[in-house]
Every structure is written in C-alpha cells, then in structure tokens.
Symmetry: C2
Subunit: 353 residues, 2 copies
C-alpha cells in the first residue's frame, strides 16, 4: 500500500500538500498530485487518520435480532443513509440478551463515532459504559425511563394499539384478547396501555385472563394464543403486539383449526411480508420501518456534526391501521350490546406484488 509519503515524493511536494489536496484545499501542484495518487492508487489509511483525528467514520448499530424483519428493515434504512454520508456501519446482534448488549457496548463505545441502539431490555438507567464514554447515541424503538438526555426515534405505540382496539370494538367485539409484549419495554408497555385505555374508554375492559404477557418472540405468541383459546370463554378477537408473536399466534390458531375471522378476528402490530396473501390477509397496525432506521441515522449524524446543537430530540412516528380481512364482526355478538357498524379510520390501497 502506498503511503502519503510515496505520493508526496512522486508528486514532488510535501505530505502536507497531499493532505491538503485530500481535504479539498487548492494546491498549486494539483495536477501532479492527482496523477501521483492515481498512479500509486493511494488510499489514506483509515487507521492512521482515525488515530490522528480521533474519529472513525463508522457507526455502531445494535439490534436484538437482525432476523426480525423489523430490525432488518431498520438496518437497511440506517445503512443506506450512513453510506450516502460516507459512514460505515458496524452491526451487532445482541440476541435479545442484556449481557451481550453490555459487552457489545463496551467494545463499541470507543470504536465508533456514534451508536444507534435498540436495547434488548430496558434497565432503569443507561449502561454505565455509555454514561462514561459519552458517544452520541440514538435510541431506536425503545427509550429508557430517565433519558431525556438522549435522542430517540420511536413509534406511537399507544396510538397504534388504540387503533387496533377501536377497530375491533367497532366491529362489535367485546371479549378481546391481548397478546402483549414485556411491560418493561417501551413498545411492550405502550401497546399494552394504549390497547387497554381504549377498551376502558369504550367500556369493555377485558378480564385479566384475556391479557397474556408474551416476550415478543414467536414461541411466546404461540403459547399466549393457546392460553387464550383454552379459556372457558375464549375471546372473539385477538390483538398481538408484534410481528413475531403474530406469527406464533397464527400458528396456534392454525394448529387448532380455528378459522379467521369467522371464529376469531385477528390484528397484528407490524406488517408481515406475506401479510396480504395469508389466508385471510392480515389486518395490521403498520409503520414505516426503513424510515425509522433512516431517521435514526440522520439524527445521529446530525448530532455527531453538532454534539451540542439542538437539545435531544424525541421523534415519534405515526402508525396506521391497515384493514384487510382477518377482522370481522363476531360470529355471535354478545347480547349485552348490538353490533356496531364498522367505520374504518384509515385504509390504504394494496398495491400489486
């Protein structure tokens, strides 16, 4: 590999001149320098530059599970923005483990210019590693309790869940099962609360056994659904608080040969790739996934450029109810109330393929 000295020698100038040329400053020997760089195929050593400048031009992106389509989309959006701005992304998969996350952060903190973090769990306070090293961090999808000190890009979980509840209620459902996420996570709690809030508001607050707390994983969704179905009075509708649990729950329904929406209506949070061609096509709460990643990266890069620019931001994206065919009025409406007329609030045209 050619070094800046080789280039300087070949071009007949000093290394300072090369360095300046590289920065875009005007230099007299411009042409000779360009030629020398070209001829030697010179590429500045990132390590040397990093050592000198204290900057790496790389960003750490830490997610619980890259195989979760949501996080895959987030990473895609984030990487795209990063690359367009000359940054590279270090990807870390914590496998939903707080310990791994801690290790990862420790290794990461002084290796990158900034971090996008989707925490596996949500401890009361931010990791000591972050507290100390103080790299710019943007929290993604989850925020920490005492953390107005950090930027974050979230989604309006409560509102999304509220839309799901309202939709189900307007269809006439009154026994509605909730497959909730862990309550110690932002999306878990937010969706839980939003959902119950709305049901309470309309006066059909579910009994405790209709509320199953899952773990945002497939198997969890499966188990929760099973428990719901085993009830003496099973629900006429189910809302699952994330994509993976939706899949698990649908498998359970499938295993028990329960027809959707004839026997039970189903709403999921987060669209699935196959959402439209499932039988029936799934009604879901949708949100911009890649955009969430892209937004987080933009915010982070802005913060890196101006560490004390704006005060920490808390961006909240909107969700929307995507009505397909997994929801319908209950088969036998409870006698306590006449079935209400469905009045969709949001709807979008399905595009082909």
């Amino acid at each position: 590999m050619a070094t800046i000295y080789d280039v300087a020698r070949l071009a007949g100038v000093s290394t300072a001149t090369i360095s300046r040329y590289l920065k875009g400053e005007r230099v007299r020997a411009e042409h000779a320098v360009a030629d020398a760089i070209e001829e030697l195929r010179f590429r500045p050593s990132p390590a040397a530059r990093s050592l000198k400048l204290g900057t790496t031009h790389s960003i750490g992106v830490v997610v619980p599970d890259i195989a979760n389509p949501f996080f895959a989309a987030v990473v895609k959006g984030a990487e795209s923005i990063a690359r367009s701005r000359g940054y590279s992304v270090f990807l870390f998969n914590t496998e939903e483990s707080a310990e791994r996350e801690e290790e990862v952060l420790a290794a990461l903190a002084d290796r990158v210019d900034g971090i996008i973090l989707a925490p596996a769990t949500e401890p009361a306070d931010v990791s000591p590693v972050l507290r100390r090293a103080k790299p710019p961090v943007v929290f993604l999808d989850r925020e920490l309790a005492k953390t107005d000190a950090f930027d974050s890009v979230l989604v309006d979980n409560a509102d999304g869940a509220r839309q799901a509840a309202r939709h189900l209620f307007e269809l006439g459902h009154e026994r509605i099962g909730l497959i909730s996420g862990p309550l110690d996570t932002t999306p878990g709690l937010g969706r839980h609360e939003g959902f119950l809030d709305e049901l309470t508001r309309v006066g059909v607050e579910p009994s405790p056994d209709l509320i199953q707390i899952g773990d945002f994983r497939r198997e969890g969704g499966y188990q929760c659904a099973l428990r719901l179905l085993a009830l003496k009075k099973p629900p006429t509708a189910i809302f699952a608080a994330n994509n993976l649990m939706s899949i698990g729950a649908l498998r359970a329904l499938h295993a028990m040969s329960i027809r959707v929406p004839d026997e039970i209506s189903f709403v999921g949070f987060d669209d699935l790739d196959l959402g439209e061609i499932l039988d029936p096509p799934l009604t879901v709460i949708d949100r911009p996934m890649e955009e969430q990643g892209a937004l987080a990266m933009r915010l982070l890069l802005t913060r890196i450029d101006a560490p004390n620019g704006a005060p920490p931001q808390r961006i909240v994206l909107e969700t929307r109810l995507l009505i397909r065919s997994s929801t319908a009025p209950p088969a036998a409406p409870p006698q306590s109330a006449a079935p209400r007329r469905q009045k969709p609030r949001n709807q979008r045209k399905e595009t082909s393929a």
Copy 2:
C-alpha cells in the same frame, strides 16, 4: 480516555510491560498493572493498534439486500461467529447494484481483515479492487466463473431444484412452470439447470413459454406468475427459484383467486417464516441459512489466521425438500400418463410455533 502511558505511570512500569501484560505474557508487576488498568478503565485504542499492527479485527460482510430473510439469516450466523472470536462486522447493503458493490469493495478492501461477499451480479472476473488489495475473501451463495482462487460457501442449487422437479413429476405433473432467477448468477443458473435437467430426464421437458426468467425479486415473481397463468395452456404446477419470487408469485395466484394446490401446485426455493401457516402451508426446498453465514465466517477467519493454509475451499451445503400442502396431484391428470404415486424423499417434522 486513559492511554497506555497513563497506565504505565500509575503502575510504575513501562508501556512495554503493559503491552506485554495485555498480550498475556507474564510480568512481575502483574497485580499493579491489573489494578491500574482497572482503575483507569483503560481500553487500548483500536486505531493505534490497527495502525501499528496493520490489522483491524473487523470483517466486511457485503450482501445485496439485508431485508431479504435469507441474507438476514446469513448475517446473523456470520456475526455470531465473528463476535465469538473477537471480530466485528461491517455490514454493507449493495441494494442489488454492481456499482454500489464496487464502491463498497473499494472502501472496504483496506479497512478490514477479510470480506464475506454475496455478489449482486456475477461479472466474468473478480473486482479489480479485490484482485489488487488481495484481502481474504469468501464468496457466499454465489461464485465467480474463473475463481477457484477463492473460498466459497454455496448450496447445492441444482440438486435442490432437481428435488422440486422430481417431487412435482412424481405427483403427476407434466406441465410445470419455472420461475427462474437470472441466469448470470450462480443460484439462478444452478436452479434453472437442475430443474430442467430433471424434467428432461423424466421426459417432460417444458416448452419455452413455461420458463420465465425473473430477477429474484418480488415484483419479478409476480410478473412471471402472471405470464405463466396467461398461457393458453397454463401449467398445473409452478416452481419459484427463490423466496422473494415465491411471495410475488403467490400474490399473483392470490390475486387471480387460483386455489393452491387444487388448481395449481406450488414449490418455492427457501423456506418462509410463515411458510407453515400460509394457506396452504408451502412445500419448499429448504436449506440451512444461518449455518451458511456461520460457515462462511469460520472459513474466513481460518483463512485470515493462515492465509496460505489449505487451498481454497468450495463448500456446498445440501438442501432438502420440505413437503407441506401446496403440492398435490394435478386436478385433471394429462391423459399421456397415469398419475404417479407420491414418494417423498425427505421430510421433516414440523415443530410447534
């Protein structure tokens, strides 16, 4: 950030001693050194080390589309191995673009200790950047024509496609449509050839209009399926050569209200997350996806440790036919042949959730 000098001073020794301690050599002042490191929370600067050693302890992983579940799984497997061996992963998404890939490789070549590359397209020869910089590279899922000079981890595409063809033929299908991938890619060509080989072998080689060349993308699968269905004599079965095209094709079938497998049988290549709960559950050619990534990373790290150890390896993973319910004998068996009895070669128990 504390430097090695701070630690040396605090421990009352020289930096050389600290460095040696860090390497695991025995030093007299062991305890004092450990304490100093602990107290100062010293972490060696990766940049400085990298500059001195010429090694980065990071690996570039380059994929065409991280949102494709296959590549997401690959990355997951690869990252896991890398992390367990103390390496970090730079993730690059080329968005199926050869130009982007070239840029990425140029930026990457002297920044990482090795590269796992799933090429977007397959040029006749390896990128000049790689030719020159000569970092260890493992090709994943795709290989280059003239490239026994590199390690690669592939899957037996031809055999997988053959299994699909045989399965369909054994069910009695004779008009079988193929939604193929691009023929200038390893998996595209391999699956194409394997499929047609087998059909030729059993004597039901399809007419050209039954072979649609897609692009491995969703929309491509959709269009190909549409073309197949528009035929005067549409096929009684379809094989789609990858996951995304399967999804597109299924959407097309769904849009046209064609019942599977009653009206048409369907086999996909690569399992889908929802494969089991689709209606009907999908018959697919399955392969170990995370393992493919993990294997590639292991191979790469081995190569990094011993650049001239073994000659370049070409690892080929097996696929297996996963028979579910999207395949059945044709509704009206062609009079030219009696329906054959289904004789599954491979089968696996479906696990719950």
